[in-house]
């Protein structure tokens, strides 16, 4: 199924959707949104690509391996920030302990890091879910 209009529009729209998703993730600390919402938007851009150009073409952009690794990476970033805070002498997920003396900045960057982690996991899982539902029973997606 090829539709020139849809393909042309999607080709223009997808980069902007992805840019917006990234903006929502990194801007979560000072505006509405955050890792979850931004991750969903980012995942939706991959889904749009797969709907328009087919699941196989979509998997060329985000391979099975990449999405599998990314979905666990996000959780590991989140948990890793917590462990890093413990190593630095604080409690689990006590962001301020990450850099003693700069509690304010440490808290800000800690929250930023976990938001990015949430965004990565959510985006990868959303894309994976769609690929699996859209092409159930096929081994290539």
């Amino acid at each position: 199924m090829h539709n020139v209009t849809i393909e042309a529009v999607a080709r223009v729209l997808i980069p902007f959707i992805q840019l917006f998703g990234l903006y929502v993730i990194v801007h979560g600390d000072s505006g509405p949104g955050g890792g979850f919402q931004g991750g969903v938007i980012l995942g939706a851009s991959f889904i749009l690509h797969a709907i328009v150009f087919g699941a196989k073409a979509g998997r060329k952009r985000v391979s099975q391996k990449v999405s599998d690794i990314l979905s666990s990476t996000g959780v590991l970033i989140y948990g890793g920030v917590g462990v890093a805070a413990m190593i630095a002498g604080g409690m689990y997920l006590e962001y301020a302990a990450l850099s003693p003396g700069h509690a304010h900045a440490a808290s800000h960057y800690g929250i930023f890091a976990i938001e990015v982690g949430v965004g990565i996991t959510v985006a990868a899982v959303m894309a994976t879910l769609f690929f699996l539902f859209a092409a159930r029973g096929r081994s290539d997606v």
Binding site: P32, G34, I51, G82, A124, F130, R138, S139
Partner: protein
């Protein structure tokens, strides 16, 4: 006034979604439901919730519903009229009355003396910027004060994705030899 119109539309859309026999259309109508819900959240100044409702409820959920329907079929199975139970409207009415009675005991909307606004909310409003260094209070609560819960949520999403992968993804080896070229 706008809220009342939106809530009425919400009820109409909910009825439409339930009564539709074409499941793809019902899925689309549910997307409209989520979008209306997002508008209501925005009117209530809950922008973060509205954002989630619009992207997850109206976006991803609809896509996944339609993707599932492509495997199960578009039409709802025909209902048997004789098996329709007569007491259901009565149960519905009683439930509505019980829920309305329940709301009578709730504080007014936006009441500053409501228990929910006296417990931890003042601390968040007054000190979250000092304590967490982020200006979005919702993010401060989600990521810092309730950081464990958000970690749990992220783990749930990851676990759900892993479970779907384990159930639906076929290994290349386990696949029988294809008899014809697949698209």
């Amino acid at each position: 006034m706008t809220e009342i119109i939106l809530l009425f539309l919400l009820i109409i859309v909910a009825f439409a979604a339930v009564s539709m026999r074409n499941l793809v259309s019902a899925g689309m109508v549910l997307a409209v439901y989520s979008l209306l819900m997002a508008l209501i959240w925005t009117r209530l100044n809950a922008v973060d919730v509205a954002f989630t409702e619009a992207s997850v409820g109206a976006g991803i959920t609809t896509v996944l519903l339609v993707a599932c329907l492509s495997h199960t079929g578009r039409k709802e199975a025909p209902r048997h009229k004789q098996r329709r139970m007569k007491f259901i409207p009565v149960v519905l009415l009683l439930t509505v009355l019980a829920l309305v009675y329940g709301t009578l005991g709730m504080p007014d909307f936006g009441d500053p003396k409501a228990p929910a606004n006296l417990h931890v909310a003042p601390r968040y409003i007054e000190q979250s910027q000092d304590e967490t260094a982020v200006t979005n209070m919702v993010t401060a609560v989600l990521a810092s004060y309730r950081g464990y819960d958000t970690l749990g949520e992220t783990t749930v999403i990851f676990t759900a994705g892993a479970a779907v992968v384990l159930m639906l993804r076929r290994r290349r080896r386990a696949e029988p030899k294809p008899t014809r070229e697949e698209d």
